[in-house]
Amino acid sequence: MRDKLFLLFYVFGVFLFTIIHDIFVIGVFSLILVLLSYNQAITLIRRSIISVLLFNGVITVSYILYAIFTGRQWLEYITLLNLRVFALTYLTFFFISKVNLFKALSFSKTLTYILILSYTQILIFKRQLNEFKLALQSRLLEKPSREDSYNFISTIFYYFLNKSMRNTKEISDAMKSRGFFVE
């Protein structure tokens, strides 16, 4: 039962952090979240920052560059994005530290299925990344130049970004067709 209550709390949290587009509101909720996890706060903050650092760093820098070149505003978007990702990650770590995931979802076949689905997604991504590395290795006759390394990394980055956006869309379409979140 406890696991299931936490799950409810988690789902609600994810929902909130996803639909809210106001920096201030997200900020307040994040703060509440940190307070709720009082004795774990430091560990969780550290863990969340470390795990989003690379991904968010790359996105932030490329977006800012892109925005500067195209003359768009970026501050608000970037702050919101980073805050949102941080809050979601924090919430997830908090949740996982409290709960056995498979147990929490055991009441519903669909949700267990979704858990397995996301787990599989992660495995697929991992394998795909490895495939990129091998393909490069196969074509390298000597150490790559700096420019080649840069091209390589940005391609992978772009590929995964694209793919996860497409996957997200596909999965949410699939869920819609099964009657989730009716608008």
Partner: protein, 259 residues
């Protein structure tokens, strides 16, 4: 003809489960080999071993009588020679493409060879593979089949001795597939091609190697004979049985499928 590739009792596992078991065969210079097997039988894994990207837990792999080891593939001179001579077209061309233009993609290997006629060679192979008109475009936006051709051009530009191709026809439409078969026919180097398309396999080479579902080599020989051997086909799970209706009469028999 001399032996160029020799595998002796190769077994490989990613985690706990073996995905290749006790595989042995030789490849002679100039042979065109078709590697058949259902999904997950280990075809791609085998090609990766032959390309020196991953290393078997058991058995030996010799390329031109040299034992290929992880250590040897850290030696600069050897790597340079080996990667030029043995090239690998990956199953998914997206994983191979990372240069800003098609031109750079094809020139990528050549630039590492410090040769003079790079420009000439790039254009030659682009022309030959029918991607000349894309030389200045970024490869990301090309279709799957075009990407595959760009990858092929970039590999062949190195004038390799062995080319390993993992499902090269899976992204090609029927017309391009026909073109590819002709192209392959004229290509005068050792090739190992994987596929699970039975009817196409005959066009890709004469000798067949077949992996079973439990990751063993269950056939090595004339491909035509294999395709006529229903017992072997069943063993490889490359045929299956299902019901049919012709008018009112229903019957069952074995089928090969080419999708």
């Amino acid at each position: 003809m001399e032996t160029i590739i020799k595998l002796e009792n190769i077994s490989y596992k990613y985690e706990d489960e073996y995905v290749l078991r006790d595989i042995s065969f030789d490849v002679k210079k100039g042979e065109k080999i078709v590697l058949l097997g259902i999904n997950g039988s280990g075809k791609s894994t085998l090609l990766k071993i032959i390309n020196g990207l991953i290393f078997q837990q058991k058995g030996n792999y010799y390329y031109k009588n040299t034992l290929i080891t992880k250590k040897l593939l850290k030696k600069k001179d050897f790597v340079k020679q080996f990667r030029k001579e043995v090239v690998f077209l990956f199953q998914n061309p997206d994983t191979m493409i990372f240069n800003p233009t098609v031109y750079d993609e094809i020139a990528f290997g050549l630039r590492q060879l410090q040769i003079d006629d790079i420009d000439e060679r790039v254009k030659h192979w682009a022309e030959k593979l029918g991607v000349y008109k894309y030389l200045d475009t970024p490869p990301f936006n090309l279709s799957g089949g075009e990407k595959q051709k760009v990858c092929l051009a970039s590999l062949l530009a190195l004038e390799p001795e062995v080319i390993l191709m993992d499902e090269p026809t899976s992204n090609l439409d029927p017309r391009s597939t026909g073109w590819f078969i002709d192209f392959l026919y004229e290509l005068d180097i050792t090739t190992i091609i994987t596929t699970h398309n039975l009817s196409l396999s005959l066009e890709l080479g004469e000798r067949g190697l077949v992996l079973s579902e439990d990751h063993r080599l269950i056939y090595d020989g004339n491909l035509k004979e294999f395709l006529n051997d229903i017992e072997k086909l069943k063993e490889a799970n490359l045929v299956h049985i299902h019901k049919h209706r012709h008018g009112k009469i229903e019957h069952r028999h074995y089928h090969t499928h080419d999708f």
